[in-house]
Symmetry: C2
Subunit: 358 residues, 2 copies
DNA sequence: TTGAAAGCGGTACCAC
DNA sequence: GTGGTACCGCTTTCAA
């Protein structure tokens, strides 16, 4: 039995280093921060003893002095409340330890893709230090992100990405994995094989295309006679989704499984009901919102792939804050492992969600 | 589109309150912290204006002054490395923002349940302020926890609980849900029904019994002719597990599903192999360790219920730290939502695990 | 019961 | 190039 216990006690500070070398703390500070006006030789010695003594800066003290409150603007839609509020909670939670050196400013647009540019410009104009945004319309936002990059304002995308822009990083449930998990679940749910359909928004969106790739790969990998017989673009629109779902159901009277890879699953569920095929089709959806809860509970939806907004929020804030503080560059894509939510863990998930609010 | 932006700028501090009332900051401090020796009337006025001005304490300053480095002892087994190291990582990660006001001391015993008491006593003797422990043998540990409680040293149990003791809280994947998720998965994987077996350690352990309860409830809820035909106690022992698994396989030539609710799944997998029944039985396991990885990849294990050690570690540390700082009592049981890990999300999970280490 | 003042570890800005 | 020192917001101690 080994007991690993750190060296006695008191953490070594800047003045320990100063004392050890017989220099002043001002010099030590200059050396540690690569500031100009110091003999390169002195710097070396300071850095060496700092390392030798195992110096670790006291973050509390640093924040205290740096009177500069860091302001981060968080721009997210109002709808769908449960999802975006969870994301906001995650951000808030991660920011709590840094209060009030770090200030959050929440800006909201009504729905994903609406009024994003205005919010972005407003944030830039108000002089924030960093931005967290869910780009519903990446193309429209591209000039904004470029502008931010020119002003050295780091931008982190959450949930959806704006690929090919100068954003610092993106945080999301890896879309390939999301599709892949859904595909594997459906394959396992259909051990006798059968036809399945894939619903998405726009295949032009990188995110959605990736989900399809993952789904396909996974269905074929298991390979027990499960076939993707329909790939449907519903354009995130209720009516389109409903109409096209009806058409698919008619065209494939023997359909055994459905994966809806966007949040737009309700119209598909309604179509299945309307055709009286509930219970004959294994359905996997994406995300979690109030209207979905009873359908999971009743078993109409076998599983939903939850993209874990709270966790995404936490990661986004941490990455952004680290960057603003240290200049530490996060990985370009921060991937969150999606949750498989079914009847059996639904309550625990909802409970945790509500418990986190205080 | 609404833009919610907080009031102009500078956070209000303790001396703003003092100035507003014409008292000293000492008085304000006494009021805010319910300290003795202050006129109840003065206290009221201070609290009121504090609320009115929207005072939020500056955590950085607070940590800075409280010269008292909080020492937390973390007592976990060495084996199985991947799992416990993940837990340690989660704890470290959560502690990082509070460096070096918060000091972690890691103590390790070789295996769960071995040498726990010694480590615990050692930690108590060294005068730590709080303890995080995974009690392998809760009964043996009970007097230790009592002793800690008498000394006002809060103890948080992770992964497993020590029910009925004075521990401050426990953090774990809710065992009922773990069982329940496994049951639902197996039921879904077997739409034509069939016999399934449940493997555990000791049914006397509350944790294990809960898993069985969840499993049963869930299998019966779906109710498509899936029956639990065997409940096996393997006593966390490889040989026992192997022998009993062979016996179950012989007794039920038509077995269609297995859930191993402890980490002791390898012997069961070997027994299935030995009998040449791989591929004929849907297998769900618990946790994730190197030897399990290829078996998931090959499809021998359909899914494993991952108890998310990193997250458990984070929650444990946060709860303990909050309590030591504020006296904020966490919920008695902190429940983590378990992950369903399958071939399709295995890589993402492993990748994230290794990415978190730096 | 209250006020005043000395730090905590770093940073920033003086003067040498 | 370097040393000294006044802070940052809060806690704590000692004096009144």
């Amino acid at each position: 039995m080994r007991a690993r216990v750190p060296p006695p006690a008191r953490p070594v500070g800047i003045k320990d280093i100063a004392r050890a070398l017989g220099v002043s703390i001002g010099t030590v500070d200059r050396a540690l921060h690569n500031k100009p006006g110091i003999n390169p030789d002195t710097r070396r010695r300071v850095l060496d003893t700092a390392a030798a003594l195992g110096y670790r800066p006291n973050l509390a003290a640093r924040h205290l002095k740096s009177r500069t409150t860091i302001r981060i603007s968080v721009q997210l839609p109002q709808e769908i409340a449960l999802f975006w509020d969870s994301l906001r909670d995650g951000i808030r939670e991660a920011a709590a330890p840094f209060e009030p050196t770090l200030q959050l400013e929440f800006r909201s647009n009504p729905r994903l893709g609406e009024g994003e540019v205005e919010l972005f410009e407003q944030a830039l104009a108000s002089g924030v230090n960093g931005i967290i945004v869910a780009p519903g319309d990446p193309v429209a936002l591209e000039p904004c992100i470029r502008q931010a990059a020119r002003n050295n304002i780091p931008v982190i995308c959450v949930v959806t990405d704006a690929p090919g822009t100068e954003r610092l990083a993106s945080v999301s449930a890896d879309p390939f994995t999301v599709g892949s998990v859904a595909g594997e679940l459906l394959s396992r749910f259909l051990p006798n094989g059968g036809d399945v359909a894939f619903f998405t928004g726009w295949l032009g969106t990188e995110d959605h295309a990736e989900k399809l790739r993952g789904f396909d790969a996974s269905v074929n990998a298991v390979g027990r006679g499960v076939h993707v017989v329909a790939v449907v673009e519903a354009h995130d629109d209720e009516r389109t989704g409903y109409r096209r779902a009806l058409a698919v159901l008619d065209a494939h009277p023997d359909l055994k499984g459905i994966f809806v890879s966007t949040v737009n699953s309700l119209p598909v569920l309604r179509a299945v009901e309307r055709k009286g095929r509930t219970g004959q089709i294994a359905i996997v959806t994406t995300d979690l919102f109030p209207a979905l809860v009873p359908r999971i509970r009743q078993g109409q939806v076998a599983a939903t792939i939850y993209q874990r907004p709270v966790t995404q929020g936490r990661h986004a804030l941490q990455a952004l804050y680290q960057f603003l503080l240290d200049g530490t560059k996060p990985p370009t894509r921060i991937k969150v492992v999606p949750h498989v939510v079914m009847r059996s863990n639904l309550d625990l998930l909802l409970e945790r969600r509500s418990g986190e609010t205080p």
